[in-house]
Symmetry: C2
Subunit: 179 residues, 2 copies
């Protein structure tokens, strides 16, 4: 299946601005509480997006181009956001996400990928062979899975406030599906 | 439970800008396809948010203040967005959502609600008694349920592109929970 890099990049370019418009200046009621236990706050999710941009997508694309399936990707640290978030406010994290995403998209443009390269394969440490196309599509879908998560975390903060309307609010029936 | 109107309004104020930043100028791959059958496209969701602001939240708040439980709310037309969307592009709908939301928030401020009024009750045509607090909290949670839906509709467009990474993407396991 052909990869439409313009579609992928159009989404990747917009996510930092969308999160900024949604989150900057919001009361901590919405942004600093989680869904219970070890789950993420909205702040954690922004930290996770920064960390993933730093260590995951472009570094893995380069691994595919340089090493193919010979060398597996470094495993992703699901707690990597902790260091990203340390000592930073949410507005600072939103600024940082905008910066790191812009840098990553510049890096992606500089790779100047040609259509035949999208089917090149790398090796994921747990999933096995994946193509460059899989990886880039997942970068975009990963933004969306975390936008989905952010909307769910925020809605959770109003779970006890909506009364009988809970019956109509799909987001309050979402169990997170592991992410 | 006390209703924090500032928290509610802070979210309601931000949703149009967040959707604008996410959606304006995106390729139709993301915005003009649905999840199959009679499900909504992203464009439909924006039309639904406009329609709900027009006929639902403030008109129902006024019903509670004027009629209490004596008169049920008008039923909500789940196909009301069709007329909102007719002949309008997505950028036009985003402009319209920003306008109608700003007007609704001006109307809400003019109601000058006092803390004791949040527990006033109205009558929902199918759910029965609901408080003004329930209604206003649901307005905010309704924005979030549709942001959750938009991220899910968009992720669905890349369902067949992410390869083995589908295992890690919670949004692709979400069945919509009816909304």
């Amino acid at each position: 299946m052909a990869h439409n890099l313009q579609d992928t990049m159009a989404l990747l370019e917009r996510t930092p601005g969308a999160l900024d418009a949604l989150l900057r200046g919001l009361p901590e009621t919405w942004t600093h509480h989680n869904e219970g236990g070890e789950t993420f706050t909205v702040v954690d999710v922004v930290g996770h997006l920064i960390y993933a941009d730093r260590v995951d997508w472009i570094p893995r694309a380069r691994m595919i181009l340089e090493h193919g399936e010979n060398k597996p990707f470094d495993p992703f640290d699901r707690r990597g956001h902790v260091e990203e978030c340390r000592g930073r406010t949410l507005p600072q994290l939103l600024d940082e996400f905008r910066r790191v995403r812009a840098t990553c998209l510049d890096d992606l443009r500089e790779l100047n990928l040609q259509s035949e390269q999208f089917q090149l394969r790398g090796r994921h440490p747990s999933l096995g062979p994946v193509t460059l196309s899989d990886l880039l599509a997942t970068w975009a879908a990963h933004d969306l899975t975390h936008l989905h998560q952010i909307s769910r975390i925020m809605a959770h903060q109003y779970r006890d406030k909506v009364g009988p309307f809970v019956a109509f609010l799909g987001v309050l029936k979402c169990d997170g599906h592991g992410g």
